[in-house]
Symmetry: C2
Subunit: 132 residues, 2 copies
DNA sequence: ACGCTTGTTGAGAACGGTTGTCAAAGATCG
DNA sequence: CGATCTTTGACAACCGTTCTCAACAAGCGT
């Protein structure tokens, strides 16, 4: 039952800490492999899953359905503005949106309400790169 | 180049019109098969894809990643409150949210902004059913 | 330091939704 | 009706993710 500290687990956490952006499991796997700190793909998935369960990482789905992971600065509920090209991310607070979402849902007689609110765009860097 | 009107295409559209809720491609395929109006699964996917491209149906992703389709009453931009058990749906307007989303993204220097705003819950019917 | 126990790893198979393949079927038009 | 050219559908391929299970190693008691 006790979670053991393994080389692989720490490697995944470290990689996430160094990367400020949302990354897919496969990207992380490749990053680790590239720096010699090789970890099995299944293990990367398991580590990310465990971190997500512990609310240590945020997960969101790219437009193509792939899951993206990120170790956010704040642990409290928040949303993201994400560059769809490079994964660059800004954390977003939306107090008014939070209130709006729960009010609307309750007014329709719905329970166990959750909301998905994510903003996608092209960051300044990627725009500059694509212009050249 | 001209889109031809085929039995399969009309069958998919009719099934969508009769169903008020978000449904997966496989659910629709099964529904059609059950009523004798048999259509190949690949064809169901292609028809839904074409309808989505023409903005005739809305598409959203369930929490498990499956795509769900619905022919909404209004063609204009809107969002949804969806029962995660039965797909029952309420269309939602959020003028304040729209303004909030574009303002926040622009303030961070992002371009080509899109937003994903969906509300998930348990509808009154499903709650009543689960209590019994 | 040394086993023991038990959680963890990793290569590959399996899975599930979705898309591609391509010969046969059929919608449209002259 | 016949020619044309899109559409269909059974099936394979794809791709991200999860499962399997024997080998491995963390933590612990000695
Ligand atoms: Zn970018
Ligand atoms: Zn929120
Ligand atoms: Zn329901
Ligand atoms: Zn909107």
């Amino acid at each position: 039952m006790a979670a053991r500290m393994t080389r692989q687990r720490t490697a995944v956490v470290e990689a996430l800490d160094e990367l400020a952006d949302f990354r897919s499991a496969q990207q992380l796997h490749e990053t680790l492999r590239a720096r010699g700190e090789s970890v099995g793909l299944a293990t990367v998935y398991r580590a990310l899953q465990a971190l997500a369960d512990a609310s240590e990482v945020d997960v969101l789905r790219a437009e193509d359905g792939e899951s993206l992971y990120r170790r956010c600065a704040r642990r409290e509920h928040h949303h993201h503005l994400v560059c769809r090209h490079c994964g660059s991310t800004v954390e977003i607070d939306g107090p008014t949106v939070e209130a709006w979402a729960s009010k609307v849902a309750a007014a329709q007689g719905f329970d166990d309400i959750e909301h998905t609110i994510e903003l996608w765009g092209t960051c300044a860097d990627c725009r500059a790169a694509s212009v050249s």
